[in-house]
């Protein structure tokens, strides 16, 4: 049976898919079997496949400039989407008038929240495809235009009239928790709490010979993939095909289907070559809008962020405010560690499906005490809303932040104790069979090997004690 989606798609002039099907060795691939070679020569080719440094499957296409990324796909009649975003970081939307934009020659459609069948996204259903009543940060999408050229789409987007009532906004997570702060969702700006309790930190501090306390901060960071957010949707039979470089095509499929209020079998998401992800292409911040425009116009629609939009409207890394307090014995054992974390999640929870946007704080809290045996650990972590970009998953969500604090703090303690940095860490480092503050028993622990091998390669001991 021919998949109707594929058939349609080929009819629409399907470009060549990325060349996955050519096999890992690219076009040089001519099976030795097909050449009539005997199986005898295969031993060398099959042994040690695990552990072998072979180039990426698409390396040949990439260096030849032949690898097709989403923006390289061309379809006849393709329209270009431009999204109008909030004028204020926090405001009520009183009225949206798209009539002047629709009058611009070359504009095929302009949509607002009224055109979205199910206008809620993500596991928490807190984000919208297009804002209906309220915007909570400057990246909030309010309306979208599909037009013959990107320039026309931009021009039309500027002509959409939106009447707002500006609301007070808050930009600092500590301010956001104070009484009287503008509230973004529900009754409080507190989005999430994650604690870790192990042993008795107060007892641990009493037993300590030295107590060190320090505070740390990290800023908002951008994934900064060289390819911006991009996707393309085209109508197909009674559904839609979406080309997306997303790291999570199945999550995109689910969100697009739900936004369109159709079953998932009518949405096909074709993963295209990605120009860099790092967690920045996890969320459906473009695809549902494009799918709605494609169905409304009956034509393929491409969306592409400008570099500026990447910073305004794509997800970012959570800033953390971190307080570390540790007690150690004179001999260098860490006896107690009390950590308080405040993460700024921005205007909405992230849309990662498994935890409902809570991944960064959960991981940050769990990893916060570092890979050290500490009998008494207390981590108190919260994530807070502010009127800033949505913080989501970026390469190791939450953990580079806490590792920066933990390892800086650990260094301070080693120096206060007069111990070598590495020796202090080795003394406390996890090894086989240790139990984490959250109750996991560890196995295959190569931590000390990494420390020793790094030290040997770096020449750590040679210069120690200068």
């Amino acid at each position: 049976m021919i998949d109707p989606a594929i058939a349609d798609h080929e009819y629409a002039g399907q470009p060549r898919r990325n060349e996955d099907t050519k096999g890992p060795d690219g076009p040089a691939f001519v099976s030795s079997f097909l050449r009539g070679d005997s199986l005898a020569g295969l031993q060398e080719k099959t042994q040690g496949i695990i552990g072998r440094s072979v180039p990426r499957h698409d390396a040949y296409q990439a260096v030849a400039g032949a690898l097709q990324y989403t923006e390289d796909l061309r379809f006849p009649g393709m329209l270009h989407c431009r999204i109008l975003r909030a004028r204020y970081p926090h405001a009520l939307i009183l009225r949206v008038d798209t009539s002047r934009a629709l009058d611009v020659p070359g504009v095929a459609a302009v949509i607002t929240s009224r055109d979205v069948p199910h206008n809620r996204l993500g596991p928490m259903q807190q984000q919208h495809v297009l804002a209906d009543e309220r915007v909570r940060y400057l990246g909030d999408p309010v309306a979208a235009v599909a037009a013959e050229t990107p320039e026309t789409a931009l021009e039309a987007a500027h002509l959409i009239e939106v009447e707002y009532r500006e609301l007070p906004a808050v930009f600092d997570p500590e301010e956001a928790l104070k009484p009287g702060a503008p509230i973004l969702h529900g009754a409080s700006n507190l989005f999430q709490r994650q604690n870790v309790r192990h042993g008795n930190v107060e007892k641990g501090f009493v037993e300590s010979d030295l107590i060190v306390e320090e505070s740390f901060r990290t800023p908002f960071l951008e994934h900064a993939a060289i390819e911006p957010q991009v996707a393309l949707a085209l109508p197909s039979g009674d559904g839609v095909i979406v080309y997306s470089p997303s790291s999570k095509p199945f999550s995109i499929q689910r969100e697009v289907a739900r936004a369109l209020a159709i079953r998932q079998n009518r949405v096909r998401v074709i993963g295209t070559a990605s120009g860099g992800g790092f967690g920045g292409k996890n969320e459906p911040i473009l695809e549902p809008t494009l799918a709605i425009l494609a169905l409304k116009t009956g034509r393929p629609v491409r969306g592409l962020f400008t570099r500026e939009e990447e910073f305004v409207a794509s997800t970012v890394r959570h800033p953390f405010i971190m307080n570390y307090r540790s007690g150690v014995s004179r001999s260098g054992r860490i006896l107690a560690r009390h950590i308080r974390l405040i993460a700024d999640t921005g205007a909405y929870p992230a849309m990662d499906s498994k935890t409902g946007g809570k991944t960064a704080l959960v991981k940050g809290a769990m990893m916060a005490a570092g890979p050290y045996r500490i009998d008494n650990v207390l981590v108190e972590a919260i994530a807070v809303y502010t009127n800033q970009p949505v913080a989501s998953n970026m390469r190791g969500p939450g953990v580079p932040q806490v590792c920066f604090a933990c390892e800086s703090h650990t260094e301070t303690i080693a120096r206060r104790l007069g111990m070598d940095s590495l020796e202090f860490r080795l003394l406390n480092a996890y090894q086989e069979g240790d139990v984490t503050p959250f109750g996991d028993t560890l196995f295959s622990v190569g931590l000390k090997q990494t420390m020793r091998q790094a030290a040997a390669a770096f020449g750590w001991a040679k210069e120690a004690g200068r």
């Binding site: 260096v63 400039g65 860099g276």
Partner: protein, 156 residues
């Protein structure tokens, strides 16, 4: 306006609006999508092409400015279907991950090696300073360029 120039050795005569950048014309009119669109303001280098042998950000070049000139894009680098030594070295060293910076990176490297066939690693890094890569940490790119330099010197 009517613009004639050469792209990858083939002459082109196009009727275009002057506000179209070389990047747009290469990608949209000539279908040469190997040249990438990353920041649109000359900061990332993904759109690097060689104009008369010198690397330039094609997003900053208005198309009329290249009339009569020779433009080389990544699609024109392989000869008779055989990869340029730089391209082969990029494959062998795992220099690219997502690959999006690759076209510009390879062309910058070509201009560098054309001018300086035996660069130091520091010179390679300086020569590639205008090509941002977020995946690789650059080292395997530098390895590839040094290796390609060796291969090219052997050919000479």
């Amino acid at each position: 306006m009517k613009i004639s120039f050469t792209v990858n050795g083939r002459s082109q005569e196009l009727e275009i609006r002057p506000e179209r950048t070389l990047l747009e014309v290469l990608r949209d009119d000539l279908g040469l999508t190997g040249t990438k669109h990353g920041c649109d303001s000359g900061e990332c280098g993904a759109c690097t092409v060689l104009i008369d042998g010198e690397p330039a950000n094609s997003c900053l070049v208005l198309t009329p400015a290249v009339r009569g000139r020779h433009v080389l894009t990544i699609e024109g680098l392989a000869e008779d279907g055989k990869l340029h030594p730089l391209q082969q070295a990029f494959i062998d060293h795992g220099a690219l991950q997502c690959g999006f910076c690759g076209s510009g990176m390879i062309l910058s490297a070509k201009a560098l090696l054309d001018r300086n066939p035996s660069p130091s690693r520091a010179e390679v890094r300086r020569g590639l300073a205008g090509n941002l890569c977020r995946c690789s940490g650059y080292q395997q790119i530098v390895d590839a360029v040094m290796d390609a330099a060796d291969r090219l010197r052997e050919v000479r």
